[in-house]
Symmetry: C2
């Protein structure tokens, strides 16, 4: 019995995905997952704080991707274009993880508890993004709004991407941004007296 923590963790993850795919999230007990992975139930909870969390290991690096993406954008780029560039940089890892995201989406669609966790993780990530923007010097009021909106656009794009199997993600992202920018009315007051656009 391998004592390597990482191996056990991966076996647990694999076992969980297999059982969930076969019988659905709710019909599988943590004891069964542990048994299939060859460890005790206690070990499951040592690696994952709760049953749902085993599903989100693949998305764990999302926060890192976002931070790195934003860090790679020069600090003098205005918030919206900066976020748009950052989103573009997150696209490749998202595409690489397409299958994992798909698996999670399927289970979430059938399991309210998993959906809740996913929604909460998105909300948390938006908060992290806002903090990163603030650290770049963006006004807190703007940061939160831009973080929410841009992540919403990306989430929307991911949705239509998944609905169109076989297509790359980037065009969906471009289309979603263009769509939103085209839908908004022109600002009536203070027409862009602020920062000049350094990127489009």
């Amino acid at each position: 019995m391998p004592r390597s923590g990482k191996e056990a963790r991966e076996r647990l993850e694999h076992a969980a995905l297999e059982l969930f795919a076969a019988r659905g999230f709710d019909a599988v007990t943590t004891a069964e997952i542990a048994a299939l992975a060859g460890v005790t139930e206690r070990t499951f909870f040592r690696h994952f704080p709760d049953k749902r969390e085993v599903l989100f290991d693949g998305e764990r690096r999302l926060t890192e991707w976002v931070s790195e993406a934003l860090a790679s954008v020069p600090a003098d780029v205005a918030p919206w274009p900066a976020m748009r560039r950052a989103v573009d940089r997150i696209v490749p890892p998202l595409e690489a993880n397409r299958e994992g995201g798909e698996r999670l989406a399927v289970i979430a669609a059938a399991t309210p508890a998993v959906q809740e966790r996913a929604a909460a993780k998105q909300a948390h990530l938006i908060g992290v993004i806002a903090d990163l923007l603030i650290a770049r010097g963006v006004a807190p009021e703007e940061a939160s709004l831009v973080a929410r909106t841009c992540w919403g656009v990306l989430a929307h794009a991911i949705g239509s991407w998944r609905a169109a199997p076989g297509t790359p993600l980037q065009p969906h992202v471009d289309r979603a941004f263009d769509l939103l920018e085209g839908l908004l009315p022109r600002p009536h007051r203070r027409a862009s007296s602020g920062q000049p656009r350094l990127s489009s």
Copy 2:
């Protein structure tokens, strides 16, 4: 002991809020809530599918408000202005329920499980809004994007409203919309403005 279901439900709700306020969500058991309301634990679960749900009874009508608000906007108004008008119409009921929202926000901030439920409810509501827009004839692709974004703006406004006690909500909403509209780059319409290629 009155057999009216509604009275029992209200007593349960009141008891729960009282106990949560005193000791926090996690430190209160459903049995205690039921006992304080003068019913059994089983009765609690007949009125509320789970412990968290007792907190969201006040927000139950949010969906109705949104539907009514959208229904009151003429069908020929474009999606974004329509949503903006609808949001304006939701502001008064939100203000009237300020205290309830505040109570919920305080508990949610201290209780991850409640936060998750709140995030999931928001996601669900956005889906409902998108469906309402589609029923108005908005293209599904646009509907989802507008629903997400506008609700995000409202959520942002509610956040800054709560941070500024004593102020009315409407100015925060107006400011959030203006801010977003001012932040976005203008669409480059000369590039045929059609749908970007979705290489299929």
